[in-house]
């Protein structure tokens, strides 16, 4: 068959691009070897957020006494939480299938292999497409630690299929994924230990924000071992090195959350002469174009961002460019969220990143505790809002928040960054009272 546009991978980059291209009148095919929705829907965002909500609900019930709510006999059925998770996933997958049908996107189940000259094969048949979008996502990256093959040691995909609570959980890696699972299990009473090799968790975050998150998770019962390097697994024992000292601890369940790597194997990419970047992702420019004409890439396979919404946007940018409409990625205004309790939400540059780029900056920060709505709803929980401004122009270039459900207001900061608003303009925006979002207005009082 000959198509206008072929999408390889049905994750958030793929199905968004497929729908957009089909709405524009292109003849579109989408190939998926596993399930529609990609890592986001099947192994990432959606299932983990369902479990986080289950844990949060339990936590609220258990700690409702400050509001006068006492739950007598409280229990947690992890199996039920998983059943809810599975039903959400089924519903979302059906949604995507319906969307593809509605927009007349042909969906082929199978493994695609790219061939030279804008063609590809799937299920033994060869097809052609004027443009091909490669969005095969990523997989958990497993470090070569002796004994890591043991059955009780799982990655972020594996842990989502375990519907019983372990006696204790050891998480290797204190990044976003590690912190989210630490929050799930600690909230429902499972002792959790996080072994992080760096001096602070979530090294990509502003260090002050990361420290607040760590303290809040510690309050929930998570133990963090910073600067801890795992050396081996023997039986149920985990051996790690903590500042030169060898330590052992027993683990009923181990989650390895040491990052992800782009899915680039088995696609015939080397044979067609595709360029890769030094981190192993498919090399693309800011439009998503690879070095081969007509071949584009979006999402985790490029090794950029590792975020579902970034992947969707990259898919959109590719389709716009194919349609002849100029569009480009703006990674500097890409928001990112850690869905722990409390949540972390950030967009733009940290102070250190800005200085590294040779910018002169001003910063301001205030605790969430000055906000009436915040302390009413999140008693005893620490939070912070921090802004970074370009000193000469007062242009807002970074917003970093930890506290409550701040993920729901980061889009406002994103809009401010996208339109390059300055302190002067933001001062005229009205924020409804009482909302936690007012923190975004008040923080400017602290700018210096």
């Amino acid at each position: 068959m000959k198509y206008d546009f072929a999408v390889i991978g049905a994750g958030p980059a793929g199905y968004v691009a497929a729908k957009k291209a089909a709405s524009a009148g292109l003849k579109v095919v989408m190939i998926e070897k596993k399930k529609l929705g990609g890592v986001c829907l099947n192994e990432g965002c959606v299932p983990s957020k369902t479990l986080l909500q289950a844990a949060k609900t339990y936590h609220h019930a258990k700690h409702g006494s400050i509001f006068g709510v006492e739950a007598g006999s409280l229990s947690f059925d992890f199996g039920k939480a998983h059943a809810h998770k599975n039903s959400v996933m089924d519903r979302m997958r059906d949604g995507i299938a319906g969307l593809m049908k509605k927009h007349k996107v042909e969906v082929i189940e199978g493994e695609a292999k790219l061939l030279k000259g804008s063609s590809f094969s799937v299920n033994g048949e060869t097809h052609e497409a004027e443009n091909i979008l490669l969005c095969t996502g990523s997989s958990p990256s497993i470090p070569p630690i002796p004994g890591i093959e043991a059955e009780h040691i799982v990655d972020s995909t594996g842990i989502l299929n375990i519907d019983t609570l372990p006696k204790n959980l050891v998480i290797v890696g204190g990044g976003v994924i590690g912190c989210e699972f630490a929050c799930v299990y600690a909230s429902v009473g499972v002792p959790v230990t996080v072994l992080e090799a760096m001096p602070e968790i979530c090294p990509n975050l502003d260090s002050e924000i990361a420290a607040i998150l760590r303290k809040e998770l510690e309050k929930k019962g998570v133990t963090f071992q910073l600067g801890a390097k795992v050396e081996s697994f023997e039986g149920k024992s985990v051996r790690y090195n903590l500042q030169g000292e060898t330590k052992d601890m027993d683990a009923d369940l181990v989650l390895v959350a040491t990052g992800r790597r782009p899915n680039v194997a088995g696609l015939g990419l080397e044979d067609i002469g595709l360029d890769f970047d030094p981190r192993g992702g498919v090399k693309v420019d800011n439009r998503g174009a690879t070095n081969l004409p007509g071949l584009w890439a979006a999402g985790d396979v490029t090794g950029q961002a590792w975020l579902a919404h970034a992947a969707s946007r990259m898919g959109e940018v590719v389709v716009n460019n194919i349609k002849g409409q100029k569009d480009q990625m703006r990674h500097d205004t890409m928001p990112a969220v850690v869905y722990t309790s409390p949540e972390v939400a950030v967009v733009g540059l940290t102070k250190e990143e800005a200085i590294e780029r040779g910018m002169k900056v001003k910063t301001g920060k205030i605790p969430m505790a000055i906000n009436a709505r915040y302390i009413a709803e999140n008693p005893g929980e620490e939070g912070m809002c921090k802004v970074v401004l370009e000193a000469e122009t007062n242009r807002l270039i970074g917003v970093h928040m930890v506290g409550g459900a701040c993920s729901e207001m980061i889009f406002g900061a994103t809009a401010m960054l996208e339109t390059e608003l300055r302190e002067e303009e933001i001062a005229e925006i009205v924020f409804p009272h009482p909302t936690t979002s007012e923190i975004m207005k008040d923080v400017f009082m602290a700018v210096r």
Partner: protein, 444 residues
């Protein structure tokens, strides 16, 4: 009506600043004129009394047509009236007077003007803003309310390009981009890199920049070269004649010099020396064409085109005709080095009577050199190529040849004498390379 650019055939006279009876001095502003790209002041080139305005405001005036008569009261100005203009235009002429003009050329005046590349940077008109007639007409045709636009013409006047820009859709500016535009006088691209094409602060650029290109002002030696080249191609009648010569004897001569322990000379030196020899025979080629006079020089001051880091330079070997091949060779080398090192004296860059330019070492086979006016001839030298040659007994063999291209100013000299000069040059190079011109003179 001065010419405002290469492709501008007419200008709209948008506003008169004087009326008949006014006294004007040289340099006074007479009127405002406009191309499709910019407005200009029309300045007086004479002093006196305004006797008559030949065109009405808003008239489309062909370039080089007379627009006004300035002189002394009572002078007869009938001969000055341009064809196409109202023959006796009253002081308050009716608009669009041209269709009434009963002349053969009226149609050329009415013709629509094609968009041009007119220079828009020299606008000097300041006071009134408003909308230009050309812009107003276009706006009305296209349903644009020109009054609501912010113009980029003098004093914020809305001109045709503003209507074009409006229709093309100018990008929205981010808050920070707007501040930069205001404070630093920067300009937004047609489409910015921000959300839905919004222009961001980092997109703002100096007016006149071009997307995807580094834009630099043309100045210094580049500007000079540009002016000279246009002068040359516009002001002379260039004709190029091509020939080539057999290199065999030149190579043999050079080899012999080395064998005899003499200084090394290049092929280029031999060609320079051959030019001097040929000019002895054809002195009419060693001349300057000065419009109404032709100056034929006694001595040859030979210009040598040099590729310097700052651009093309043409140092002159003064009185080259008096030099031996050794001296000529050393002088050429010295001048070229001085150009490349930037130590050349200004006096060494002028006074040439004939120029030699060589692109052979860059693999060029043939090219048409551009005259260095007022000189009337320039010789271009190409690279070495293998060509078949038939000897006197009919045998065909391959020999190394170099192509020669002689550009002449046909105003000053005809093709046949130039061809004869070229013939002499080739003969000299093929038979007497490196030999003193006096010897050849003696032979002939």
């Amino acid at each position: 009506m001065p010419r405002q650019g290469q492709s501008v055939e007419s200008c709209i006279l948008t506003e008169w600043k004087v009326k008949p009876g006014d006294t004007v001095a040289e340099g006074d502003v007479l009127a405002v004129i406009e191309t499709d790209k910019a407005s200009f002041d029309l300045e007086s080139t004479a002093s006196g009394t305004v006797l008559e305005l030949f065109w009405a405001a808003d008239d489309d005036v062909p370039v080089l047509a007379n627009v006004i008569a300035i002189g002394e009261e009572g002078e007869n100005i009938d001969d000055l009236r341009p064809q196409g203009a109202g023959a006796t235009a009253p002081p308050e002429p009716v608009a669009n007077s041209t269709p009434d003009a009963p002349t053969a050329n009226a149609s050329t005046v009415q013709q629509t003007i094609a968009p041009s590349q007119a220079d828009s940077s020299t606008s000097s008109y300041k006071p009134s803003s408003g909308v230009s007639p050309r812009a107003r007409k276009k706006a009305m045709n296209l349903g644009v309310d020109a009054e609501t636009l912010v113009g980029t013409g003098p004093g914020g006047r809305v001109i045709e390009r503003d209507i074009d820009a409006f229709l093309a859709g100018t990008p929205r500016l981010s808050a920070s981009a707007r501040i930069r535009a205001k404070e630093q006088g920067l300009e937004a691209p047609v489409r910015g890199s921000g959300i839905a094409g919004m222009a961001l602060a980092s997109d703002m650029r100096q007016p006149g920049s071009i997307e995807g290109a580094e834009v630099e002002p043309v100045k210094g030696i580049r500007k000079l070269i540009a002016e000279r080249m246009m002068q040359s191609l516009q002001g002379t009648a260039q004709l190029t004649l091509h020939s080539s010569f057999d290199l065999t004897n030149c190579q043999a001569y050079r080899k012999k010099r080395l064998a005899d322990g003499e200084s090394k000379v290049s092929i280029n030196d031999l060609i320079a020396q051959a030019i001097l020899a040929a000019l002895k025979v054809h002195p009419e080629m060693n001349a300057h064409f000065l419009g109404d006079r032709l100056a034929v020089f006694h001595e040859v001051n030979l210009g040598i085109a040099v590729d310097s880091p700052r651009g093309l330079m043409v140092p002159v070997v003064q009185e080259a005709s008096k030099m031996s091949i050794e001296m000529l060779s050393s002088e050429i080398k010295k001048k070229a080095i001085a150009c490349r090192e930037g130590t050349i004296q200004p006096d060494d860059l002028s006074g040439g009577t004939f120029t030699l330019t060589n692109l052979g070492m860059l693999g060029v086979e043939n090219f048409t050199p551009v005259l260095n006016p007022p000189e009337i001839a320039i010789l271009g030298v190409g690279g070495i190529s293998l060509k078949p040659k038939r000897s006197a007994d009919g045998e065909v063999s391959f020999v190394d040849q170099i192509s020669l291209s002689l550009t002449i100013d046909h105003q000053a000299i005809d093709g046949a004498p130039a061809a004869r000069f070229l013939q002499t040059l080739v003969t000299h190079l093929e038979n007497h390379p490196g030999e003193n011109p006096q010897i050849i003179e003696g032979e002939e």
